[in-house]
Symmetry: C2
Subunit: 443 residues, 2 copies
């Protein structure tokens, strides 16, 4: 992408009403623009990050055997009357009446609708297990939306739903999502800790939140410090027994504020390992058995002929919120530092003298080679001054900057800067291009 054709409205000044780093940086970097309280447009730079995050979430869901569909944003109120949540949900639910005076709502979550879809098609134990997900915009009418996309009203969520014959089956599905989530967040460079959590308005018996530790987190969390560095399982057989992987992570103490037991924490965790910190929730998984299937009559015939409600769970990832969470975990005074996996572009190519035939040709060569290598370069071909270009590139946080100026080029050289470390390498132009294309620089 040539910057002159892109749309990157960076802000010189820090927006006054943005309280946390990710909100400030997303506004300054021209990633988002607020259209109404808690409702954002994702400008081209932000959109590219959002798509990368979404794709990682999707790939890890697919790997775990979940099947994607897409439910609509609007739902009929009658569905929620079946489960009893239409009245329970309160003012956070955005209620809508159409021209024929029918009650709709903007879905804050999809337990009811997926249960309706399941029950319309599956009637036998032979149809089980099923594990379905979608990635769709949701709306929760927060009374005080804030922190940018971290606590918006219209937000993108991945939500999965499992349907099993019994609790053991549901537990296996729960474990699949537990492990898939560890891998998902690790791929984005995040250290997410699963913590016992309250089930809230979803309800149920068993629940874990996946928490990123960050000073700006919205809730207090408590855990054994070893959990933070435990890492993700990576490639596993999702049809195999995942219980040991889950047990290894639930054996150590970890709980959100609502579930915290100070006494147990003190007894179970050695003092030097007691971590009490602020946390950002990026995922939340629930096992709730028959909570929806019983009232909504999502019933299957068992092998013995008995008819019983299926056992369900639901599993959410805050896709749009993750863009903010990643920035909270990875930035410095100059701006954002994207992990390569979610960077909007893989590298910047900075022309220090646009209009000059030589730097232009060198940039074009780099651009072509990096594009071919799948690095998705952003070529700054604008006539801004070098100082402004460097500041913008540091702000938007691409992993690498390749600087091509007339002085270096006279000696056939270009400079490569790694955004995370600040390390600079002066290299022959072709060498620089080849190494960037190969991903041969340290991050």
């Amino acid at each position: 992408m040539r910057l002159s054709r892109f749309f990157l409205p960076v802000l010189k000044e820090t927006p006054a009403d943005a309280q946390i780093a990710s909100h400030r940086l997303m506004l300054r970097a021209g990633m988002i623009r607020q259209e109404a309280a808690g409702i954002y447009a994702w400008l081209p730079l932000g959109f590219r990050v959002l798509k990368k995050i979404e794709q990682i979430v999707r790939e890890e869901q697919d790997r775990a055997g979940a099947v994607e569909l897409l439910m609509p944003t609007l739902q009929p109120a009658d569905l929620w009357r079946e489960s009893g949540r239409y009245d329970d949900y309160g003012e956070e639910m955005l209620r809508i009446r159409d021209r024929h005076k029918r009650d709709l709502l903007y879905g804050p979550t999809n337990e009811e609708m997926i249960t309706e879809i399941f029950r319309s098609a599956c009637r036998s134990y032979k149809d089980l297990p099923k594990l379905l997900y979608h990635i769709q915009w949701k709306f929760r009418d927060e009374i005080r939306p804030r922190f940018g996309v971290m606590r918006g009203r219209e937000f993108l969520m991945k939500d999965s739903y499992s349907f099993d014959l019994d609790e053991a089956g549901a537990r296996a599905a729960y474990n699949k999502m537990f492990v898939a989530y560890l891998n998902t967040f690790a791929r984005m460079g995040l250290k997410a800790v699963p913590m016992r959590a309250d089930t809230g308005p979803i309800g149920g018996d068993l629940s874990h939140e996946f928490i990123i530790l960050a000073e700006t987190g919205e809730s207090q969390v408590f855990c054994h410090a070893d959990l933070v560095e435990m890492g993700a399982p990576g490639a596993v057989d999702f049809d195999g027994d995942l219980q040991p992987l889950v047990d290894a992570r639930t054996a150590l103490y970890a709980a959100t504020d609502e579930m915290h037991e100070a006494e147990r924490f003190a007894v179970e965790v050695p003092e030097a390992k007691r971590l009490s910190a602020r946390g950002i929730e990026v995922g939340h998984i629930f096992y709730f058995g028959e909570k929806y299937s019983a009232p909504m009559k999502a019933v299957v015939t068992h092998p013995d002929g008995a008819q019983k409600p299926v056992h369900m769970g639901s599993y959410g990832v805050g896709v749009s919120r993750l863009a903010g969470a990643i920035i909270e975990a990875s930035h410095d005074d100059a701006g954002i530092i994207w992990p390569e996996s979610v960077a909007p572009f893989g590298a910047a190519i900075i022309d220090l003298k646009p209009g000059d035939a030589d730097t232009g040709a060198a940039c074009a060569r780099a651009y072509e080679a990096l594009t071919k290598a799948g690095k998705e370069p952003l070529w700054d071909d604008t006539d801004e001054r070098p100082g402004g270009k460097f500041a913008t590139m540091d702000l938007i946080g691409l992993p690498y900057q390749m600087v091509i100026g007339p002085r270096g080029l006279k000696e056939g050289k270009a400079e490569v800067k790694a955004r995370r470390t600040g390390e600079r390498h002066e290299l022959g132009l072709d060498d620089a291009i080849a190494r960037l294309a190969e991903g041969a620089f340290g991050g």
Copy 2:
């Protein structure tokens, strides 16, 4: 994907209330499920088609130089008061009031919001031209939603917006989209004819609809028959002069009902070439100059220091509607016939004797090879009877079916059936796999 893990709720019976082929077939093939009038869930099979269509639209937009972003589904009413359309739009606009009694609406289109985004960032001729697009769910509260996704209320649209200094620049942007649309629809196997069209609620001076001819089309259209077979330009230089390509297609008569001039049609088109048919609108492009930029004060400084509103156009593709339109154009009595470019899976592998070690191993080999070749096979490993399997596969319309049964396998053979032609080839198993993987069968 193994069918036993997929979610494919095919219907045995034809839904009574579905009046047109695409609606009937999408319901029967388990592609969609209605959740409220004109509001559909895209079940896994339908979702895969929707994603393929969306991706083709995206690639052709990118090729034309458009830059993607994502605006929210909900918009503040005040924006639409600026343009004057809040009152004009009538009951098709879904109006919403949030908990703080602020007026929102579910966007039926995005001219106002993109103009607001543009004016917040661009103030000089140096910032032009800009060509932005997004692919987002829209809502129009149709009084009588019908024909499934062809005339739904919640629908997926790609909408692009161009910003130029003057009419000549805007015309160049218009031509880019004109050509991009020809290529877009051709890649989906559709013969789309650009026709002079009424500008309706978008307004403006110049407008073309892209129309697929189909008996079930919602409007009457009139054109020179040669336009239908004219084909798409394919690879072009989008920075070059596209006017000749556009002129070649606008020189011949083509108009929708509202713009039809019977006398001109009779004079300009030889009788043998006069085509009067039903048409489905799949795209619509508009040049409307200062219609939004003037009232909304999207003004830029010209090189001579003058400040003038930018010239704008907007360009829509009905992404979800295309799934229906493609089926209208490509089906037979047995079901859907997908063009390969948008097929939900590239081929079916049908195990005629699930549980048999030999057929299972042969299917696994085919599955692995076709997956590796990027053909995304659907492996029917269920224990349904062969007749049911064949009927389902014909219904869902994958381009190829590879049938593996114990009898053929004894001689090392498998059968490949091309869905479109019905042609069957009996081949050695490895030969069949290799030829399918290479795409060596005619469609």
